[in-house]
Amino acid sequence: MARALLLRITRYPLLPATSAPRPAPRLAPQLLARHAPTPLRSLSSSASISSDGPSAGRKREEVKDSNVSKEIADYLGMSDDELMEQCEMGTFKASGPGGQHRNKRESAVRLRHRPTGIIAQAVEDRSQHMNRASALARLRTLIALKVTLSDSHLFNHVISNYISVRRSINLEEYTPPVELLQILPLKSTVRGKGVGPQIGPKNPKFSPGMQALLDLLYAVEGSVSDAAKILGLSTGALSRLILSDDSLRTAANELRASKGLKPLR
């Protein structure tokens, strides 16, 4: 938990306290440098190269279209409160009356920025306040990205990459790699005897297995039941595996959100 969160904080720097005076630079490039973490920037450049359109041309267009850029840069210059004003905040599960009726510790936050339609979410912390701050920080990053990539197709492409870089899988010839088999529960029917005991989230070897699982999940468009079939597990058993580790759960849910699916809880 703490580990996952620390990771999150380094990737998405938390917002400064609202009471502290916030420098409000108006220039998009500065903001990009402030808000976009390094791996992101390298991602966005690789996306530009791989896109079919001439990216340099696009950049020029964008400079000409100063209205759009300026408007977006203004979003980034806003204080947290101002930006929040422009967002609809939803939780993933609004079932039942809530309030005094319920004891519910999980407090996922989903922000939809009305002017741009960008959605940012956070589920990793037990405090809703913290999740809101993470989601808002993430929203800033996504808006900053949109400044450099005003083409929405390219933007979406980068977003899906941003969520994580996934190796592509040919499902017809797919056999789960051994690092993935090792993190599966013993009851998996594809696991085989030679794989050894199940590796848990605390083990450093969990991470490669987790990456392989996310690759598979990406290939099946986020469907846990499809992935479960391939891995010889029940949907419930695979869900539990995903939920057992915070960083895996977060990544899986971001991936699912990018496919328009509800988060696992």
Binding site: G98, Q100, N103, R105, S127, H129, R240
Partner: protein, 389 residues
Amino acid sequence: MGPLSSPSSAAAESKIKAKQPWRCSPSRPAPSPHPSSSVRTAARTACASPPSPSPPPPSPRSRRRCPATTPPPRGTQTRTRPPLFLRPATHPVPASALAAFRRRAAALVPASAPHLHRHLRWLLADASTTSDSDPALFRAPLDHIESLWLGHVRARRPFQYVVGNEHWRDLVVAVKEGVLIPRPETEAVVDMVKGVEGFGGGWWADLGTGSGAIAVAVARELGDGGKVFATDVSDVAVEIARFNVERYGVQDKVEIRQGSWFEPLQDVKGKLMGVISNPPYIPTEDLPGLQPEVGWHEPKLALDGGRDGLEHLLHLCEGLSSALKSGGFFVFERDLTSNICASIWQTNGNKQSEFLVDLISSKWSSSFRDVKAVLDFADIKRFVTGYHR
């Protein structure tokens, strides 16, 4: 914003400590010598006795609802242990024992409740120091942690009572049996009052403060001259609220007064910039159907809203106009999703949710303006706000 960027409550705690050492109980400061602190009227009627904080919760089957005949002794909690997450980590637990505990604990989690795996991780995080040392250092013996876990999984004791805290806004609020666990919906109240003109220097009242979460969060936003009067009728609430106020070092901004609703505030009548309250609002008839974590363990005193859930809300509305100064603001949390008011408002069922708004703006129309229902984050009409004329 102390603990906002801290990864766990333990780290959050160490940050607070660095700024403001929390005072452990032996020399708990005497209650403020304000005359009204002696007011101890248990003005409420139904099921008004909070459960005793010390013994573990009885099994749900043996628990009788509303043990009105045997109220727990009042004023006996002079000294209590700090909540689990704040105790010193002095119990070494070897890695092998911890691993075995993890296995046993995880085996208790039913497939229908995968969220309990998360609770288990959080319990271990709160109950130990965060380092990866072997032996790990725990804040209680492992067999005690195990019994706490059993209590959570089997007796449905709320996780927040087990670890002794709830993460609420940027705070880690101490809680224990006898005070309502602050709800995420209520966080929005602080943002609402922050937006009121003249907020920072005003006098505010948090009526039925419970853990003191609202009072502390508001106090941390106030400027010079700003102040919160936090009232509660319950002994446990007063004790825990005081603890949280001191833990966050806002004693100079929060004055805790024991008593029912407006009762302890006679001397500030007509001087309040705003009144905030999250009163009990669950209709009495709905209490038996509550989630076990709530219905079996949280204090009825903080949940039971009487007939239609409106008893205390109406009482608060009655007292508002004399408490607030001219132009003063109020926000109440309430519940209008259940079929409350059905009997009162039968002619126009789909307007039930507007009942309180309509009532305040019609019955007390000469006293209030801009009365409206405000949605919570799940789009449920959760709050009613307005201004004194």
